[in-house]
Symmetry: C2
Subunit: 205 residues, 2 copies
């Protein structure tokens, strides 16, 4: 991401910048069209699909020993045992503890000697479980990708987005959010035709 | 604003774009630093200052006869007669009816033969009244600028932003929002050092 000066106090009376960035920079949303050619773009996601009860799935313990750990159906069932059934129109975000590496690109991408990244993500079985048995608006991760870093064919992206649903990547500050009971507003920029966009997430407790 | 293809389905398995845009494109926020050299940038606005009760001031009638109309203290007092005192930490947005020109650049900027734009905005006296006598987080307009189009020295920007407060420009869909009773979430992208950013506004009624 690059900021280029467009106006200056001395010449214009105010300052501003031209922004140059990939749609998928920082905390951002993946729209269905990111992977699915005829999927909807970010501006076509109805606003009521961008607000919902927030569920945080904590897999930090498993990640300590396994950087390729994924959210599995058991993580969802374990959450439900404690907090009750996943609420309707939920937004479910993985807290893998990876957020502590924000700003340290090497640790965040965690590439091995073969150039393969290693960081946690969702499993295909977990999103298939959600699609079949729960009512969910979107899923998210505190890592670079809905799929685990080592994935080559993005089964989670393809499965989830092909159902017209969206994902959030690089979600920050999850340690400050209770596992259950918060409500999330996903402030996605309405870029026409965009495959995604930077978002401001506001959780209300 | 320009979208440049960065990845393609055939080469990468997914598509995305590089975005090139000014910070002050579409519905967007002006941070204090936009006009005030030592003011805070968009990433420094605390999240609790981006959520508040929404007040919509309807000046559509006056704008029909005067494209240079501004929000004046009387508009605020008239709103208060109907709906009670402006709530604490309010976000107050002008509905001038100008939103109907979105997408028609000539009508939206409305330049005269001398090249001077004509569209409504706030008056300096109205924002001075708010600063002295009410508790407000931010103000907004459904036009290009907090100041009326014909302004050359931006008294509203300079007065309001120098108090560490922010503004919203090009706010859409105000006709669907009640004058009183909605609550607004301002999803400003957290661009480090940014003088503003595109925002997704979500009003809850």
């Amino acid at each position: 991401m690059r900021l280029e000066i467009a106006s200056t106090y001395s010449e214009n009376g105010y300052q501003d910048y031209e922004l140059h960035l990939n749609e998928h920079t920082g905390t951002h949303l993946d729209a269905p069209i990111h992977f699915i050619k005829d999927g909807i773009a970010v501006h076509e996601i109805p606003v009521h699909c961008l607000c919902g009860p927030l569920v945080v799935l904590d897999i930090r313990d498993r990640v300590l020993h396994n950087h390729d750990a994924t959210v599995i159906p058991d993580d969802i069932l374990r959450w439900e045992k404690k907090y009750g059934k996943i609420p309707s129109n939920a937004i479910i975000i993985m807290n893998s503890g990876w957020g502590k590496y924000f700003g340290d690109n090497n640790a965040f991408v965690n590439m091995d000697k073969q150039g393969i990244p290693h960081f946690p993500g969702w499993s295909k079985t977990a999103v298939e479980f959600l699609l079949e048995a729960r009512s969910v608006l979107g899923i998210g991760v505190d890592t670079l990708s809905l799929d685990q870093g080592a994935s080559e064919d993005f089964p989670v992206h393809n499965t989830w987005l092909s159902n017209g649903l969206w994902g959030l990547e690089n979600v920050a500050n999850l340690d400050n959010i209770p596992p259950s009971g918060a409500f999330l507003f996903v402030g996605a920029s309405k870029v026409y035709g965009g495959t995604g966009s930077p978002v401001r997430l506001i959780a209300v407790i």
